[in-house]
């Protein structure tokens, strides 16, 4: 180990350093199911979201198999429609939205703040149970026949025409929303009230800034989804005319309400990804993030502007020419803070000490793929192009570059970066790099052809398609196969590392941040002495000096 690596945890009593941690503090099923420890709750979430990720991934893979041939020959149309609907619902509501805040936010955020737990530990456990109740509805729907409305539940199809399990799944999504709200509330209060002495706002790691912005969006937007879904259920069950014109409603009203939540929800999914990226860029370049304040405030800028662009999903849906212009303009503005982040992350590499370890490979992949996802958002925001590519595979490719190329790449970076902290063990580095490479190659092979096939004219949500689209679809399916291997490998080697992995030590990366100043895995109370922060964020020399002094004291 080099001189920049700290192997001792300065805020932990030496006697407990090696022996006691949050994993072996208590034993038994109940000690997990009734835990109020934010770290154990994070582990509960980690298992749950992984299950849903696998389920959603299986749906995706079955779709890609069907799309190998232009004819709809593998599944019936109804089955295919259920596959893409369930893929969307499971991935968005049960994986992407909760994944990073509920796993890494829960585990790392209080430690980063030098706190012993979140502000409301019982509320935190409740949010996991609420999530699981919503998830059970999802599982019941999957088992009892599925739902075929698309994850967007557009009316009047969802309220009057679909005879699948619309009520149960919207109820499930409705319930899960409350889990997000509680998590967001918990984070906001914790960030405001429980920062360690000396940890001022501008000394916060950028992860915290991004989580703060995410929590604000969650708190403000999720209730709108709840209202929208209740109205949908009311119309479907009680036949009260809200969205269905046959009952006197307006179907486009539904789209406004739905996207007023669901566009900010895009930022609920990507901001936590950016949170991880900022941490990893700093850790694997051993450098303060270039333009710290710009990166921090761009998170808030995204959170604010993200509320003003919902109608760019409705350019061809029947809004007026002038509202389309306003929303197109605002959409261009929301691209600015994202561009700021990309430029600053890239600039951080300048004169840095860049490590090519697995998390950093995912980070570099993220920056590249998020850039493509972002600039193709400009295509969709430009009115003249959107009219053509709206509801085509171009859109599918665009949001997968953001959601998979962005959020999931960041999630993978995060899981490798904090795995030693969470489990106390190192993952096998060579396998990590291999899977990062497979994910990158497989991802591009899957989704880049979809930009092309979308512009050529293939509509999304098509079970059967015109023969001239086949070549690009075959490429896409081939890519999905590589991607699947890239995702399966970490499940295997991370599981393997739990038993056979090298012991990680306190700070295997030589990174700054309070989570690297406690032992791995951390004790139940995170720190024995409340840390006093005397250094700026990502200030390597000062942080290392402070660690030394605390150790010596």
């Amino acid at each position: 180990m080099t001189s920049t690596t700290i192997d001792d945890a300065p805020f932990i009593e030496p006697s407990t350093r090696q022996r006691r941690n949050y994993l072996n503090d208590e034993y038994g099923v109940l000690s997990w199911l009734l835990t109020r420890d934010h770290k154990r709750i994070a582990i509960l979430y980690l298992f749950s979201v992984t299950v849903f990720f696998v389920v959603g991934g299986i749906f995706a893979f079955l779709m890609r198999l069907e799309l190998l041939t232009p004819e709809g020959d593998m599944f019936t149309s109804d089955t295919y429609n259920k596959l893409f609907t369930l893929h969307g619902i499971v991935m968005i509501f049960f994986f992407l939205i909760p994944a990073i805040p509920a796993v890494f936010g829960n585990f790392i955020l209080p430690i980063m703040l030098g706190a012993k737990d979140l502000a409301f530990p019982k509320l935190n456990l409740l949010s996991w149970y609420i999530y699981m109740v919503g998830g059970v509805f999802g599982v019941i729907v999957i088992i009892t026949g599925g739902v075929d409305t698309g994850w967007t539940f557009y009316t009047p199809f969802s309220t009057q025409y679909s005879n699948t399990k619309v009520f149960a799944i919207t109820l499930g999504a409705f319930i899960t929303g409350f889990s997000s709200i509680l998590t967001g509330l918990n984070f906001l209060v914790t960030i405001h009230r429980m920062r360690a002495p000396g940890l001022t706002w501008f000394r916060l790691p950028l992860f915290v800034w991004s989580m703060y912005a995410t929590s604000v969006v969650i708190m403000l937007a999720t209730p709108i989804l709840a209202i929208t879904l209740v109205l949908l259920m009311v119309e479907r069950v009680l036949q009260v005319g809200i969205f269905d014109p046959a009952l006197g409603g307006d179907p486009v009203l539904y789209q406004h309400m739905f996207w007023f939540y669901s566009h900010p929800a895009v930022y609920i999914m990507i901001l936590p990804g950016m949170a991880i990226i900022s941490e990893c860029v700093a850790a694997f370049t051993r450098k303060r993030i270039f333009g710290y304040k710009f990166v921090a405030f761009s998170s808030l800028g995204i959170a604010f502007l993200g509320f003003l662009v919902w109608a760019h999903h409705l350019f061809v849906a029947g809004i007026s020419v002038y509202s389309a212009m306003i929303f197109s303009f605002l959409t261009m503005l929301v691209a600015v803070p994202s561009a700021i982040k990309v430029f600053n992350w890239t600039a951080t590499l300048y004169k840095a000490s860049v490590s090519w370890q697995t998390p950093m490979l995912y980070v570099l992949g993220f920056i590249g793929l998020f850039t493509i996802g972002g600039v193709t958002g400009l295509f969709l925001g430009a009115l003249g192009i959107d009219v053509h590519v709206h509801d085509s595979y171009f859109v599918v490719a665009h949001f997968h570059y953001i959601m998979v190329g962005g959020t999931i790449m960041a999630y993978m970076a995060g899981i490798h970066y904090w795995w030693p902290k969470i489990t106390g063990r190192m993952y096998p580095e060579w396998w990590g790099r291999l899977s990062a490479l497979l994910v990158f190659v497989g991802f591009n092979l899957t989704f880049f052809p979809q930009f092309l096939v979308g512009y050529v004219g293939m509509p999304r949500r098509y079970h059967a398609y015109a023969p001239e689209f086949q070549v690009l679809n075959v490429l896409s399916t081939a890519g999905a196969t590589v991607l699947a291997v890239g995702y399966l490998l970490p499940m295997l080697y991370l599981g393997w590392s739990l038993k056979f992995g090298r012991k990680a030590g306190t700070n295997p990366w030589g990174a700054v941040g309070l989570e690297w100043a406690t032992s791995s895995p951390p004790p139940k109370e995170n720190f024995h002495h409340t840390p006093v922060v005397t250094w700026e964020a990502y200030d390597y020399p000062a942080f290392l000096k402070a660690m030394k002094e605390t150790q010596d004291a």
Binding site: P251, K351, A352, V354, G381, V387
Partner: protein
Amino acid sequence: MNDFPLFPEQASSVSPLVDGLYLGLVAITGGVSLLIWIAIFYLAVKYRRRPSNELAQEQEPPMALEMTWTIIPGIIFILIFVAGAWVFFRMQRVPANAIEVYATGRQWMWKFQHPTGQREINSLHVPVGRAIKITMASEDVIHSLWFPAFRVKADVLPNRYRTMWFEATKTGKFHIFCAEYCGTMHSGMIGSVIVMEPTEYQQWLAGGSEGSLASQGEKLFQKYACNTCHMDTATGRGPVLAGLYGQSRPLTDGRSVVVDDNYIRESILNPAAKIAAGYQPLMPAFQGQVNEEDLIRLLSYVKSIPAPQTGSALAVESPQSRGTSAGAQPAAAGAATAPAPQQQQQ
């Protein structure tokens, strides 16, 4: 290349504009993305961790640099907005001489009606070099009519008419797709638009039909007994409809409304919504009684009733006459010409 196109056919007057914008954006964003990728790779290799640089060199970010990469992308993004909006306006403004075609979407087919009375399912015949305006509604859920070769698309709603237009620049057969997910056979809700030379198109039009759309509507007008109240003279219990299309009419509640396709539609399906000033809300609602295709026939007829020449009738209550012959052309006359005032419907 036909088996494996990487670019769609350019077959309408707006296609080159959309493609120009698209390729321009591909060049700009592709260039910038490539630069970022190269920068990432170059910096990550050049400054890779070696024993000599275990710690990075810190430097304060120059404010000028931050402002540069905030403001310049901002300006570029706004220019992209302007270009996109400019093309969008060209797509939305319907040329005055467009041929009016009607479309109905339903699970899972497209029905088209020509002013001359022809009906088609999942195919649409149009002449090359003429603007075609499609007025459309859905019978059930939301659909979306997409002509990829023409680069135009619009959602088709169950509660009102929307319009779209295109002018084909190339003869041939092109895809029609439903782009808004609409249930089981969504991917089967497809068809072809057949673009023909004008002479061929005239021959096609000469093929059998049950009389012009307006004359079909006139029969329905009698069948539903509309004519017992909407008479030629102001003695009827309902307003005189002659010459009404495109006019502004006062309502009983003091507002006024321009008589356009959507107002006529609403007045048939739910007449109580807006009552013309001076009349009683006597008319029964036809919601659920008249299907979309018959509605189009009735609409076409109401639009075609010529204004009385003398101007003595109460039909025209507002003096602002919009064009000399609003809706006055006999719709049966060959390739029908649309009424002059084009309502921009969204």
